[in-house]
Symmetry: C2
Subunit: 134 residues, 2 copies
Amino acid sequence: MDVLRTLALEGHRLTKARKEIVNLFQSQHKPLSALEVKQILTKRNVHVNRTTVYRELWFLKEKGILQEISFGEGKSRFEIITAHCHHHLVCNNCGGIEDIIVDEDSLIQAVQKNSQFTVERHLIEFFGVCANCK
Amino acid sequence: MDVLRTLALEGHRLTKARKEIVNLFQSQHKPLSALEVKQILTKRNVHVNRTTVYRELWFLKEKGILQEISFGEGKSRFEIITAHCHHHLVCNNCGGIEDIIVDEDSLIQAVQKNSQFTVERHLIEFFGVCANCK
DNA sequence: CTAGATGCAAAGAGTTTGCACGAAG
DNA sequence: CTTCGTGCAAACTCTTTGCATCTAG
């Protein structure tokens, strides 16, 4: 379904910032930080306030459209939620990011079995050198 | 071997801050943020500057005594490096942290096989509800 | 119109840097 | 003594909040 249409039907306004940010994440399946979002929009001559970007990312996360992830850089990244849960390979050299599907279910099952712990959320990311940079 | 003795033999000074911080991480096998380290020391009447804590954590990391980890909170945590690589179960309710050994080698092998990517570092952490809080 | 969204300024965490002073060896 | 480590102040990044203003519907 169309994300923007759905939001409109729920009574949310389709402002310039909202439309541009949703478009950005839909066209570029890559985890972006708040300030990266702002920079990309600025390059496209869309001038949106820092605060607005943060609020919009929070809004889209609440709506289940974006998810927040972390590469341990001291800042949050966001990406559009896709049907299948995936993780990332981050190249230490060029900064490129590849998606990867990981069989994490068996891993989580094992963790829960060994620990009496109910896992609700997890963080799995890999850092190294990509094929191009080798 | 004794960490402090080793550092001394390498020509590093055994200052109050250094001794207290090494002791703290040796007695408490738990990931701590820089400011948590400072708070604990203050409670013990050891007054160390914020900057000194950051510099000491960086130093101990460079020395291979501590490792930096992230729970995606927007800040770094540090813990003493133990013989076996482990990960954590962080309770969303009580904030408690349990160590867990994960069979990540097979996971990393699979990732590398599927991607032409050489994995150098990874981030694997779990969040949920611990046995006590259930 | 009017609630929802925005911009601006300020503030708050976490972290780093430069520089002069202090203390371990 | 001399070099390594410390404290302090300032600055920097990322993020949040309050409030007045604007605008999509």
